[in-house]
Symmetry: C2
Subunit: 182 residues, 2 copies
DNA sequence: CACAATACGGAGACTGTCTCCGTTTGGCAA
DNA sequence: TTGCCAAACGGAGACAGTCTCCGTATTGTG
């Protein structure tokens, strides 16, 4: 890739991060281009779809998912606390921006979605937590990671849509956690 | 209201029902107007916002919510079955059209939303089910109807977004149900 | 039947998406 | 260094959707 192309690509990703944070995932892409100091054509050449731009943006986010999982798994204590704190972190992770939860949670298993590859990081992370809990015999029999992701994702979506406070989210996560525990 | 105005209003609601069913809630409103055989100006005079049009559309739906609740409450059997069948009906009720679950679930408690008034029907219905379950001492202590609506709504949203089959939804609802039960 | 009051409708302003193509730039080979 | 051309740029503009304004048409009442 040519030097100017690489430069513009980076500028676009950075601009997208800014603009999406400010205005949510529906923000005008032409604005992203303008903010990056390039023409719309350049944006669409680098990122043919809105999704592909998000995919690029979420690259570094995957690292954060993994780091957070490591941290949560360090925590010793009752299984319920472990699960609950993972669920809370999960909501935090996918609530990066307005509209993020819906975008991410809606992309599980939708093949062809650029974001769906990133979702795998979430499923893998959740799987690690589930493995730990299963070792402790704390879970009901048939728990699958994707299922848990979807359920918690749903909570995050409504929290995001409705502007819910953490205090409103907590009890919902408790319900979910208790539903998954043996 | 003048006779022609009433006629157009009805035509618009009927057209909206058609178009939204075919294309989801993001469908072009000008198309709805055209389908109804009126100009865009007429549509926007009757329904200043997309929401207000939906609100009118959902009028008859409220009746269906109540009927369904009646039917579910007739069912005798273990509390868990009652709750589960309500949750399933709930998902069905709000999944009228593509995008419906997100629209409805995102409108709880958002005051000023025309749809939010319709959501009250859902909360009330859920409350009736909760009352029954509480009489049987089957629920955990602090269950609120809105909370349950949001949680199940979240499930419906991800089911809708991801094109999930009822078989995928069922286990998620079981988790939710078990989370709410004592 | 006439005349307000009420309602209609479509042209068009505005915004966002995405493409096409003439112009510019980077980097390699001579 | 220079010249070349593939690679990349950028912005005009086609297209679609939202929503408004205002001249025109319709209703129903006195």
């Amino acid at each position: 890739m040519r030097a100017d192309a690489r430069r513009n690509r980076e500028a676009l990703i950075e601009a997208a991060r800014e603009v999406f944070r400010e205005q949510g995932y529906d923000a005008s892409l032409d604005l992203v281009a303008k903010r990056a100091g390039v023409g719309p054509g350049t944006l669409y050449r680098h990122f043919p779809t809105r999704e592909s731009l998000m995919d690029a943006m979420l690259q570094s986010w995957v690292d954060r998912v993994n780091d957070t999982t490591d941290k949560v798994l360090l925590h010793e204590g009752p299984p319920r606390d472990l699960l609950l704190s993972w669920l809370q972190e999960y909501v935090g992770l996918i609530s990066v921006h307005k509209g993020g939860p819906a975008k991410i949670t809606g992309s599980f298993g939708v093949e062809g979605s650029a974001i769906s590859t990133k979702c795998q990081a979430l499923v893998d992370a959740t799987d690690r937590v589930i493995d730990r809990l299963e070792d402790q015999g704390a879970l009901r029999a048939d728990v699958e990671a994707v299922q848990m992701c979807r359920l918690v994702g749903g909570v995050a979506v409504v929290a995001d849509n409705g502007g819910l406070e953490p205090d409103d989210v907590r009890p919902m996560l408790e319900v979910v956690a208790d539903g998954f525990l043996a």
